[in-house]
Symmetry: C2
Subunit: 446 residues, 2 copies
Amino acid sequence: MSIILNETHDADLRSWVASANAAGSDFPIQNLPYGVFRRSGREGDEVFRAGVAIGDSILDLRAAFESGAFAGFGETVHKAIVAATAGSNLNPLMELDAAAWSALRLALSTLLRDGSVHQSQLQAALVPQAEAEHALPAQIGDYTDFYTSIHHATAIGKLFRPDNPLLPNYKWVPIGYHGRSSSIAVSGQQFRRPLGQLKSPTSDTPVFGACKRLDYEMEVGVFMGQGNAIGDAIAIGAAESHVFGLCLLNDWSARDVQAWEYQPLGPFLAKNFASTISPWIVTIEALAPYRAAWTRDAADPQPLAYLDAPEVREHGAFDVQLEVLLQTKAMREAGTAPQRLSLSNFRDAYWTVSQLVAHHTVGGCNLRAGDLLGSGTLSGPTPESAGSLLELTAGGKQSINLNNGETRVFIEDGDTVIMRGWAGCDGLPRIGFGEVAGTVLPAREV
Amino acid sequence: MSIILNETHDADLRSWVASANAAGSDFPIQNLPYGVFRRSGREGDEVFRAGVAIGDSILDLRAAFESGAFAGFGETVHKAIVAATAGSNLNPLMELDAAAWSALRLALSTLLRDGSVHQSQLQAALVPQAEAEHALPAQIGDYTDFYTSIHHATAIGKLFRPDNPLLPNYKWVPIGYHGRSSSIAVSGQQFRRPLGQLKSPTSDTPVFGACKRLDYEMEVGVFMGQGNAIGDAIAIGAAESHVFGLCLLNDWSARDVQAWEYQPLGPFLAKNFASTISPWIVTIEALAPYRAAWTRDAADPQPLAYLDAPEVREHGAFDVQLEVLLQTKAMREAGTAPQRLSLSNFRDAYWTVSQLVAHHTVGGCNLRAGDLLGSGTLSGPTPESAGSLLELTAGGKQSINLNNGETRVFIEDGDTVIMRGWAGCDGLPRIGFGEVAGTVLPAREV
């Protein structure tokens, strides 16, 4: 897991796709994230297929491959582009190794660079992002959610267990649990407010009804590449070579359902009604210039050996800014822009991606290409960096005043939650994640 | 969910497959469970495909279909047999509805009956079970494990929380959590003893090592048929029409890993290293004669409306006996038969299959055909009906004396745990589940 910077990271690279060179674009030529798309309204005659975001466009990988532009790149690139264009998701590409992903990235960087001889050939393979719709980038076999923000764990712990906020295992075990893969959808997901059993603290018995404390969770999603055989483990030093890339993840949560159901086996209906991810997967290689040291307080225990490695300490973290915005129905109708609720950073997580992969497999559990790991809510140390409403409203006790005069304690019907993420500042290229948006519809009538 | 008995349940039916008529056979003509198989050692030239157990044989459905034996049965049967033979798992058949499953069952019953004109045609489609190997019967999208035995929940609760064994939500909420689908394998699974963080009660810090408290859990698995759209719910009265059938499930558990990791988000590495299921799925229709009333103590709360229906109370439970046996390495080497550890009954579960399906979907979570639900450990009210070693040994404090002079507290390397299940007695046909066996190998060296 040494950090290799190569010509694809060169900040001076420019693309013949002019919009990729615009200041503030999420998708300069240094990024090249993968997604699955088709042109909107073409259900009948277009299949979902792999693409790479470049500026305001998508490079249709199948069309690009068929144009012959990849012909001169040798066997590794050929294998990678064949895998990327084999089906309607990225799983075949994910199943390859980091060398294949890196070779394909270099080929894409070469083809999309200013001055590429393939410009005219590839022009026809560009689709405007504004004309595209997305599907999940992978078939997600299993989804695991972690709990890597100590700030979030402490804040939530105070609400659920005032006497015992941070449990004794937190600083030893990268706490995680299995989530629901069937209800994960791509940005734009609209879902009904969940129903469930709710029990007020003042009542002895629950009632059935619509969730009253609906929340979002700002998370980073980790898409696995090549997996491991059952019974084997992925060593911490090799962990990132099994990670295909990162996305944004909104792990919607029904706090009232959760409070009543979660003991002793963890959250269930509180989380499985919907989860929304961004369409683009930013590769680990694209984020190489934005790595950060992984540190913990001097008083904290040292990690057990299977969770420790020099390279994890040196640059195991990712310096990715994470923004949550809210657009209420009233804002949408008035044409008002979404309002920021928080800004946090993935760097502040207590456990790194490598540690999650090493921990997940250390007992013998097998990961598969396309599996998704969630970071857990990424809250920072300050109040304005809290990645959920439960934290921002102190457990629903303090309402948030919105700029248009509305207030919020939890999510209301018609609200759209938007999350954005990006690395890069001070003149370095912006490696953007795009955004993930999800909208809550009224509950099913009962 | 009315219980319909039809000619396929006739206790006097006999098959031209003579072994199906033998007393004690798990697979008489009244059963007809589905699985996926190929002949052993034929990796190169045989694919895994669907079959139906009959006596000591398997009816190869593809070969049977190709023989033309299904020609005279009409459109519904045609659709069902096409789905059953479409791929290498049962998902396409599971995606059909209960009417299609029932029509196929009647066709199979007719074809395999004594006197069938198709006997000579189908003889070539029979494969001896002794010559077959199995794969998972379905591609399992999501696996959910429940906790339906109040006897188990109380016994375990006493060990983990002596002051608070049965939590207040237990009698209201069918407690469940999401499990790991990637590590589920079919009977015969051999897996390494898991490694993980272990913390003794007398130490402040954990150590990393091999699990010392490895256990099994005797469960029934529920394979879903047709699913629901996200945001919709499956009503309790319709729930069983979405269930394809039942199998046996061993939910292996690392108790020491679990004790340290499980708060606050539930079991994770303690459960995801391996789970083993039986090769055969017994259909709900086959179990119709063995339904039982669902009852709870008079002092217990009445279920909320979405979990209640007259038919659930009348016959929501299944009278299925569940036996756990142990064969140690020493027994195997001495040719000693496995020794029974417990006998329990699925009927004693606190929640029924219909309630699990209704609860799982009530918040809007979508189930998909091939999804697996586990019942949770099925312990009965008596000590000898405890479905895990944790219960049988009082939390590891009382060792079990085996007939060959060995003792056990938890599972040791080389041990094989075998589970069997069956309905039927008093002259009624035995609807057997076959067995699920799994063997523990030494831990990976670290």
